[in-house]
Symmetry: C2
Subunit: 187 residues, 2 copies
Amino acid sequence: MTEDSAQAKGNFKRLVPEGDSLERLVCVECGFINYENPKIVVGSVVHDGGKILLCRRAINPRKSYWTLPAGFMEQHETTMDGAAREAWEEANAKIAIEALLAVYSIPRLSQVQLIYRAHLAAPGIAPGPESEEVGLFGFDEIPWKELAFPSVHWALGHYREVEGQTHFPPFVNPPGEFGDLKEQAGL
Amino acid sequence: MTEDSAQAKGNFKRLVPEGDSLERLVCVECGFINYENPKIVVGSVVHDGGKILLCRRAINPRKSYWTLPAGFMEQHETTMDGAAREAWEEANAKIAIEALLAVYSIPRLSQVQLIYRAHLAAPGIAPGPESEEVGLFGFDEIPWKELAFPSVHWALGHYREVEGQTHFPPFVNPPGEFGDLKEQAGL
């Protein structure tokens, strides 16, 4: 039975399958196991003439806060194609990817973020359906208190650390940081 | 309704939800959308005294072929914790991660592989339940014709390219390669 047909019909219960050590969603009719795995977010810090592309979210969570063009990777694409697709969907931006800037793990959300450094490959940006507004910001103009997620802060800081470098290992989470929202600090 | 309770009870059909552009598995009773996303494989090239750890697979696919300690990332862990867990489960190896060696995309399988470079942090390896055998191989002793997957080849070659270096960007797929099995070439 294929995954699609099982999931379309399945009668799932949470069980520990034989030979496994963790509970899984198992179809009690056919035995199909629906493994749940962390999700990949792909995105990018896109620069153009010394400015950085940000999008004001039109959707929850964190509606009206500013974020990088980023989102869940789709089936059957590569990580870089996914990051380019998100820039297109959220900001109508055609981008050229330069390097992997960071790999962040958010274990609370079972999320891995692959954030690239990229530049605008063609002029022009405009909000897509998930953005209220998009803009290019100098580093001193970034609305630091209105950023949507801690990892947006991290990525902008990490971008700054390797500005002008072409050969660098990707960053990871800042020490002790796991992406929890801290409202009071404006994060 | 939570994801768990919806999936345990859901009556899923494949539909394009309102405002979306792709078919998703939607519960026709409660409207819950079960998004399918690429899966993350975490693993490592583990070295010890100039030799590299390989595991002979005890399970399909590619049973009895040699592979790196690697597997699907679990919920609520970090990528590096996942890679260390896989080395422990498959080879009873305690490892210390050094650097991100490569990020490979296998779009046909909707898979992203994060492969680290690591070294044995304590002496001793032994096969876990998913390995028939484990071993440490000099580069010239690697069973090149009996490697399980193309990405095992890629990772071993990429490991060799940066041996002795500490500061390098991660590799990506070799040009034009997407991880398809090529039986005739022994891949």
